[in-house]
């Protein structure tokens, strides 16, 4: 009798699980799920503005997708996005690995760790659009960095950082590097500190050098967190928008060589070209979806089982 009563009490409580989930679910359905379904739906319709005239919506199957690939633009913007992501990510991962290894190395006993961590994480919190506008003003032909570089004889007076593909891409990659290497350092550090200290001690007793310990013990044990950093950064890289958008004023100049996928999507949303915007969104959804599965496998599986 009493056990039945207590189990019914638990049952009575457990319905609160649904009640407490309700706000999340309602908001998720209205603001994320319905928009996502409608985006996918739109990708199968011809629907755009031609001047002031509304064309469509007419069902056209996969024609938007075919159009997306036939123009060659999607390849170009994917390449732009990937080049700028890689150019930022390679220095980011190298510097972060070095810093994380140094911060966690007991034999180095680095002082002022809190100060350095505070400084390197700071750019991550800065408004990306304001940061990009700042870089634009500093590197523009009337900006201070331009004038320093001219005075030092590095560049010609007529050189414009904003008119060269290499320099705009470098600036974007550099901003991404600055904004993310602190975050990556902290993530890798927490991974390194999770490694069993006795492994390092044993290696030291066996006479291993710091370099050997790093490559033979730290790196293999760090692999899951390394993959996590790589994939989440790639997902973030695919969403690259604020920095190039503001730096190049939305046109991805020079000659659209710094136009990213999301900048292109943004252009279609502004011109109300819903068919192509939908198709592009679906492609991005599929790519990020596949990448997410990898992240999910790394973070969630143990969690849910527990």
């Amino acid at each position: 009798m009493s056990s039945k009563k207590s189990s019914s009490r638990i049952m009575r409580h457990n319905k609160y699980g649904y009640i407490f989930l309700l706000p999340f679910m309602i908001v998720f359905v209205i603001f994320q799920l319905i928009p996502l379904i409608s985006t996918i739906y739109n990708s199968f319709f011809e629907n755009y503005m031609s001047g002031l005239m509304q064309i469509g919506p007419n069902f056209i199957g996969f024609a938007n997708y075919a159009k997306l690939f036939s123009s060659g633009e999607i390849e170009k913007y994917t390449a732009n996005t990937m080049i700028m992501w890689i150019a930022g990510f390679i220095p980011q991962i190298i510097v972060s690995l070095l810093l994380a290894a140094w911060f966690t190395d007991p034999s180095l006993r680095l002082k002022g760790q809190r100060f350095f961590k505070t400084v390197i994480y700071l750019p991550n919190l800065i408004m990306a659009s304001a940061f990009a506008l700042l870089f634009f003003t500093l590197f523009s032909t009337v900006g201070p960095i331009h004038s320093i570089a001219v005075n030092l004889g590095w560049i010609d007076q007529s050189f414009d950082f904003m008119k060269s593909t290499a320099s705009v891409r470098t600036l974007i990659a550099m901003m991404n590097f600055l904004m993310w290497f602190g975050n990556t350092t902290l993530l890798l550090m927490s991974g390194m500190m999770g490694i069993d200290q006795s492994l390092f001690e044993a290696a030291e007793v066996d006479g291993a050098t710091a370099t050997q310990i790093f490559w033979k013990i730290t790196m293999p044990l760090l692999r899951p967190i390394f993959v996590y950093v790589l994939i989440t950064s790639l997902i973030g890289g695919l969403q690259m928008f604020d920095v190039p958008q503001i730096l190049t004023n939305g046109d991805g100049g020079p000659a659209r060589t710094t136009m990213t996928l999301i900048m292109w999507l943004n252009k279609h949303l502004y011109s109300k070209n819903y068919g192509l915007a939908g198709a592009l969104s679906v492609i991005l959804l599929i790519i990020t979806g596949i990448l997410s599965i990898v992240v999910f496998k790394l973070t969630a599986e143990k969690e849910v089982k527990a």
Binding site: N14, K15, Y16, L133, P144, S147, A277
Partner: protein, 282 residues
């Protein structure tokens, strides 16, 4: 042994050197920004770089506040949007995490897996449908589309759930139930206060990401008086502003990022510690 000591010294030297270079690389932009925000527009036009501050900060700010853009209004808008997002986002994410943490109901595991699975899906991929729906719901030029979606934030949820797993003893909840407290009372009066450290960390992160958010606000906010700071910054970039007053431009950038920097300097310990707490468990 001597040699080993020498190599530690050498490695330590290199480590400090690299750290100092990176520190300069992180801070130099903001240093130039502060300096330039204090310089007059003529000084900025004629002399490119200066390492010493000037005296025109108040003049630049004054020009900025009386310029064409509703900058003060923009800051107020940003505070409202980011503040409400931080409050609602953390409260309801804690509630969602509590639902999964404390109750055993049918579909619990499925919902948990589902929330984790959608964690990495970017908002941009559903932006088309989102803006379309907001237009149909007559919510353009409104803060609701920028605030309410933060109530369903899987990343915050995940952090809260992990925090509960290690810091929220079930016995406490059970004791409160025996005392006859209602489930809502337990959540608001016992769980939320216990979650304060986690809530404050996530409130800061939610506030900052909402403060910095540009993509969705630029699609929703069209009325000049509703725009948040990032949208005004973008507007400033697209105006042909090099002819204008550069002192004002630097003042505007400083005005947009310094509130976050100041908050960060006070709370950096919590923030830096909070970065990794929700990450991968190795």
């Amino acid at each position: 042994m001597e040699k080993e000591k020498g190599s530690v010294h050498a490695r330590r030297f290199i480590a400090y050197l690299v750290l100092i270079i990176l520190t300069v690389l992180c801070l130099v932009w903001f240093y130039i920004l502060i300096i330039n925000a204090t310089r007059s527009k003529n000084d900025l036009r004629v002399n490119g770089f200066s390492a010493i501050p000037s005296t025109h900060l108040m003049e630049n700010l004054n020009n900025l506040f009386h310029g064409t853009q509703p900058v003060l209004r923009g800051m107020l808008n940003s505070i409202i949007v980011a503040g409400c997002s931080a409050f609602l986002g953390t409260y309801f994410s804690t509630m969602t995490a509590y639902a999964i943490h404390a109750y055993r109901f049918k579909g619990r595991k499925f919902i948990y897996t589902f929330i984790l699975a959608i964690m990495m899906i970017p908002t941009q991929v559903s932006a088309l449908g989102f803006v379309d729906l907001m237009r149909k719901m007559k919510l353009m030029n409104n803060f609701i589309p920028l605030i309410i979606p933060s109530m369903a934030a899987p990343v915050v949820f995940f952090y809260m759930k992990q925090y509960m797993d290690s810091n929220l003893p079930g016995s406490l909840i059970e004791a409160a139930r025996i005392d006859g407290a209602s489930e809502f009372h337990i959540f608001n009066r016992i769980v939320v206060p216990l979650m304060k450290p986690a809530i404050s960390v996530q409130a800061i992160f939610t506030f900052v990401s909402s403060w910095n958010n540009y993509f969705i606000p630029s699609l929703i906010l069209k009325d000049e008086n509703m725009k948040t700071l990032p949208v005004l910054i973008a507007e400033l970039r697209s105006a042909d502003f090099l002819k204008f007053d550069m002192g004002q431009v630097y003042a505007m950038i400083a005005f947009s990022i310094f509130p976050v920097i100041i908050v960060y300097l006070f709370l950096s310990r919590n923030i830096v510690g909070g970065v990794t707490a929700g990450g991968v468990k190795e």
